[in-house]
């Protein structure tokens, strides 16, 4: 007996309406499912399972089939990316120069649990990456495209602060 409750109210109704209108004008919605998923991701930035389920019901396709497609194509995001993606290099060089404490500090300062990949406000994503080939600058932290070399634990606070300010300005 299904007992998982899918809380469809997390989906913004205005965006949903736009998505539904897009689906309705498709001549063959099932065939155009990838285009629909593109549209959904454009609107919602990622594809939470509630959204996938919504699309499944709208297009009369099984949810498993939708999830099969979403998980097949790397363009579709099953988890949101933050506006700023902080990547801590975990290559050997960086690791031996103390990358782990840096990662831990980011996690702490951003208020993220050990398995969280994104902050609750969706501003930051945090991940560890394989060697990004800047060993001479170890340890290295990358925020979106910007690279910070010789990174120190004490810098974590100011880096976060910098992007928080950028975010405030943007708003």
């Amino acid at each position: 007996m299904p007992h998982i409750e899918f809380d469809m109210s997390i989906l913004d109704p205005a965006l949903l309406q736009e998505l539904d209108e897009f689906i309705e004008v498709q001549e063959f919605p099932q065939e155009s499912i990838i285009a629909i998923l593109h549209k959904a991701q454009e609107l919602f930035l990622w594809l939470p399972r509630e959204l996938q389920l919504h699309i499944a019901r709208k297009t009369d396709l099984p949810a498993a089939r939708i999830h099969g497609i979403v998980s097949f194509y790397s363009f579709f995001l099953e988890e949101p990316n933050g506006k700023y993606t902080v990547s801590v290099c975990m290559g050997t060089a960086c690791f031996v120069k103390g990358a782990q404490p840096i990662l831990d500090e980011f996690r702490k300062q951003l208020g993220m649990g050990p398995k969280d990949k994104i902050t609750k406000d969706g501003v930051f994503s945090l991940n560890d990456v394989r060697c990004i080939g800047a060993c001479g600058l170890a340890p290295v932290v990358r925020v979106n495209e910007k690279i910070y070399g010789h990174f120190k634990v004490e810098q974590v606070k100011e880096v976060i602060q910098h992007y928080r300010e950028l975010e405030e300005q943007a708003q």
């Binding site: 099932q30 065939e31 155009s32 499912i33 990838i34 285009a35 998923l37 593109h38 099969g68 497609i69 097949f72 194509y73 790397s74 363009f75 579709f76 290559g91 050997t92 060089a93 960086c94 031996v96 120069k97 060697c131 060993c135 001479g136 600058l137 170890a138 340890p139």
Partner: protein
Amino acid sequence: MIVLNTYEDLRKAYEELSPLLNKRREGHAGIPTPHKRELLVCGGTGCHSSESLELMQALQAAVDEQSIDAKVVQVGCFGFCAQGPIVQVMPDNVFYVQVKMTDIPDIIETHLKGGEPIERLLFVDPASGEVQHDHASMAFYEKQERISLRNCGLIDPESFEECLAAGGYLALAQALETTTPDQVVQVIKDSGLRGRGGGGFPTGLKWDLCRRSPGTEKYVICNADEGDPGAFMDRSILEGDPHSIVEAMIIAGYAIGANDGLIYIRAEYPLAVNRLRIAIREAEEAQLLGDNILGSGFNFHLRIVLGAGAFVCGEETALIRSCEGHRGEPTRKPPFPAQSGFRGKPTNVNNVETLVNIPIILTKGADWYSSIGTESSKGTKVFALAGTINNIGLVEVPMGTTLREIIYDIGGGIPNNKAFKAVQTGGPSGGVITEADLDTPIDYESLKKIGSMMGSGGMIVMDEDNDMVDIARFYLEFTTAESCGKCTPCRVGTTRIHEMLETLLAQEGDEMLLTKLHNLCLTVEDTALCALGQTAPNPVLSTMKYFPEEYLRYARREVKKSYWIDPEVCIGCTKCKRVCPVECITGSVKKAHVIDENACIACGACAAACPVQAIHKPK
């Protein structure tokens, strides 16, 4: 808005608009264009990311502000991507490279007002040290023959007028007006054109098979899902000359008997998608797409289907599955798409570079086209030249050009006086070619014979420092990540190959492992379901063939893992010591330094920091 209802409308438009490009046609002395000069700025993705868009806007603003009689035009990719952003001044025929925002005042004052070219912005030939004004005389362009890229860097891809001025849709008009579909197929057959995306199947034959398939509902699909790491010619064509693809699709539809076309394009190419959208809309408004095209009675509709990030969708059966709204898993052949493809109907799939040749073949004739190239492979091929080579970029050469010409003449050779080691063609499906085969005239057969393949035309040059086992691992990492997971040899087999390479690289393998690896590669090649899996072991097989000693050294665990310092060369500057992340370098000032080989993690930071190149990579 231009509307072209008849062949006459189109020809008239061509005659009226053609002078638009006069400034850019070298040696043309015809009717003057409205502006004295034109500044062509590259608007490809490569140059866009080095801020060519901002540059173009600033140039335009400066020109406007100073009321200079010049027009700034955004054109498609020039191909010389490593030197971007590129600005070409016409009709002066001056080719500026690596232009920055700060160069704008100088361009305005010195060149546009003063009439003097700016020497420091010109390209300096790395081999001869000569400064070069005119791109035609540059070694990079001299040996090229731009047929597929004919309009890239010439026209504004977002201007329908310029497309028509360049002769756009004249081939379509000619086909509809004067030839039957069978005749079109025959011309393509006679031209000897072969598929540019992979195996090189004769395009005319492919069309013919689809044309002869029973049924009235047929489809043509343009495969614009270019996914080879390092190959971007399709993107450049779509960005620089989208109308040629639209035109080719309509011609293909006419020849095959299809009234619907799809362009399956990577979502990772937003600029190309956007320009294609514009081109399709313009063609629709001009009634070149839709019903009764140019009054011929032929109907054709074209739409874009976005891919979503799966390399395997470059395989045509997977691409069709994806178009139908499924996971992009390949299906077995037969049935071939020509028999049963999109929606189970006969379908013809051609890639972008193949299609872009269609209009020009019809205009110039099969004889002209088949006069270019080798016995078995006609025309030209675009290669994306990359790796350790001086002139990185997109080059188009006639089939039959040797690799030596491409690498040394066009590519300008290997930088930093390093020795050439190998060139990988065909991306993750291809193999390496060594010095011994550099004089092989390139065509589909010759590349296959030496253990590589044409593929989509990626060409990665490697020098003496590149570790071939590691290169093989790199490609296998890519294919395992892109395997669809359907068939056993690809899903599990390529993973095991990748793991074996990792074991070897970690110096935890033995010679038995080499035999096992080789056997597994042969079986995966022999039994995988689709081309991705069948060709996945190629990088391993070919590096094993040409560099067996590198594999043996790993198998015997003889590879030195650490960097080492040549005491004869070291000047004791201590720079290496300071950058070493694991602090494994010892030595005092002005004395030769030493690396602790047990502690070294081979990150290479020291070698990069060394001012006298005393530090060497592990070998």
